[in-house]
Amino acid sequence: MEPLTYRAFIRTVVQVRKNERLEKIPVLRKDPKAIGLVFEKFMRRQINFSERKSFLKELYVVLGYRYSMKIFVTVPNYLHLLHDLLNLDPNGDASDGDVRATVQKILRKFINFALFEDDQQRVFDLIALIEFSSYSNSIPLRATEQISKRTENLFESDQKTVSQNFFKLLKPIEFTMKEYREKSQKKLLEESKMNSEIMTEKKLESYNTKKSIVPNICQFVYYLEYFLLKIGATIEQDEVQIVQFISNLFDFLYETQILHLIYPPMKSIPSEINSNVLMKKYESVCHRNGGPLISMLTIIFTVLRNAKIIPEKVGLLKCCAVLLGLQKNDRTSDPNVSRHGSGMKDKPKDGPPHPLKELMISAIKRYPGSEVKKDMSTSLVDSANADKLPDLLVQKVIFERLLC
């Protein structure tokens, strides 16, 4: 493609707008199909390397604006593009350091949006990206034919193929969580300086209690539980990565107090149930009974059972004690966040009588049930949400491919 043709091509999807401060900013045009066509050209390598490099940089810049990100996730083949970026040929595009760095930045933008910014449970798109490779292998289509072939060569078993995107996304997800924590603390510090007030726990809570993060993060924890149970014994092969990720996730959940949420509530279901009743009334109770707390416990024990690295396993055991309120979490970066009930081991006489109960009450106060319950107990067998089931994400991907 000629340079001028390329510029004109890009202009069909990127426009310049003025923001609130009257600064000119590049954003995506509200034309998902045209954008999808550009993505297709990129994935089929119909534009040369320097143009692809330039395209990635421009994409990163436009995705810096929430407006563009909202349009980006409506593009029919945007998951294909992200999958393609995750699996760039190490001897081709990925051999360039700039390209690798830009790809990482784009992925972080997307993860940040999916987990922390969007309130439409966009986390399922992130899960779809993790599960993507298995689908592209099973049904090779034009757009991803090359990727599928490359994937088949790299990985022998389907199971391993499923895992490949997961492990590639661990670092960007970790980075995004860390960035979110740092940003929230920085913002609070700035606010406290401006108002000459002491940073209070209440302020931190109000910042973290964004409606979007609870359902998104919880669904991600549920998915992680599902994924680790699925890969089971093969955890050992990537144990360092997995244990490190879980430790960081644990710290994040602890700091935001999502860890001690038990929605859907952990209660017994009646003795007589049938599938109709279960679908209508009790499905949300049975599904993920006990919320992120029980999921995190399951995750920790699954890894402890299958991993071999001792020091990291000792660290996970400590997480278990922290979760129960028997120990303090001394790894969390924010000393201002106090936890009722934690530190029972350090001060057994002064500590509350029931540390776990105290932690749960504290979490419920921060995330009132009435506000969170609705999002936390999303029905998965309801047809409207069927595509949100991990097993049914395939439908979503296939559907999006048909649109291409």
Partner: protein, 241 residues
């Protein structure tokens, strides 16, 4: 709340059990080849405090110690409640024909096989989910029926006697928390039980106790906690199979 402690207790015991089994296999492998000169050399190298193998062994011990320490903490905190649940369901379990509770894993295995197939079916046929839910309901209904049946006979004289029966878990709990032994009327030194207050001695005593009585402990804990109190369906694991 108790359920959370039960889950952790059950998970920890399983981990300790597998650690104990693994160490048993290691020592038997070494013992089996005692005459081998090469093995002697390896053993000598292991004894070297600066050797890699010894370092690995000590970290393994540290992990086992941490497992037991956490078990002690949980028992100190919620031991009585966990013990009551265990004891109640153990009585029900031993009093029944065992047929009902032993049937469940079999049903589960059938369910597992079917669920593997359903993963594919989900993708093509949404009604398959309903079919799977019916299986969950059937499994749950059977569980509840058996438990109700047992609970109606729970206070019979025969079972009241069994409630007073000494179990290995009582001894384990007493080792972990000396206060527990007083509440349960266990005497120091009874049934080979030596209750100590020295933390290191407690750790060693518990590890040794679990090693010696692991089979009885496993049957007491696994049968009761797995099939009795932890009966709440969680579909997230169900989709896994």
């Amino acid at each position: 709340m108790l359920l959370i402690y039960e889950i952790v207790f059950n998970g920890l015991f399983k981990l300790i059990y597998s650690e104990v089994n693994a160490s048993k296999v290691d020592s038997s492998v070494i013992r089996g080849s005692e005459n081998n000169k090469e093995t002697d050399e390896v053993q000598k190298a292991n004894e070297d405090p600066n050797g890699f193998a010894s370092l690995d062994g000590s970290s393994q011990n540290k992990y086992s110690d941490e497992l037991v320490l956490l078990l002690i903490e949980i028992i100190s905190f919620a031991g009585l409640a966990i013990n009551n649940t265990l004891r109640m369901h153990h009585v029900s379990d031993t009093n029944s024909t065992r047929g009902c509770l032993n049937k469940k894993p079999m049903n589960q295995s059938i369910s597992k096989r079917n669920l593997g197939e359903t993963e594919i079916r989900y993708k093509n046929n949404f009604s398959a989910i309903k079919l799977e839910l019916e299986k969950v309901c059937e499994y749950h209904g059977e569980q509840i029926r058996q438990i109700k049946k047992q609970e109606t006979n729970k206070f019979s004289d025969n079972q009241a006697n069994r409630l007073n029966k000494k179990l290995k878990i009582d001894e384990l709990f007493a080792l972990c928390n000396p206060e527990f032994s007083a509440s349960k009327g266990l005497k120091s030194g009874s049934a080979g039980l030596k209750i100590t207050k020295n933390p290191r001695e407690i750790l060693v005593a518990i590890s040794a106790f679990i090693q010696i009585h692991r089979e009885e402990l496993q049957s007491e804990i696994n049968h009761t906690l797995k099939y009795s109190s932890l009966k709440i369906p969680r579909l997230v694991t169900h989709y896994n199979h």
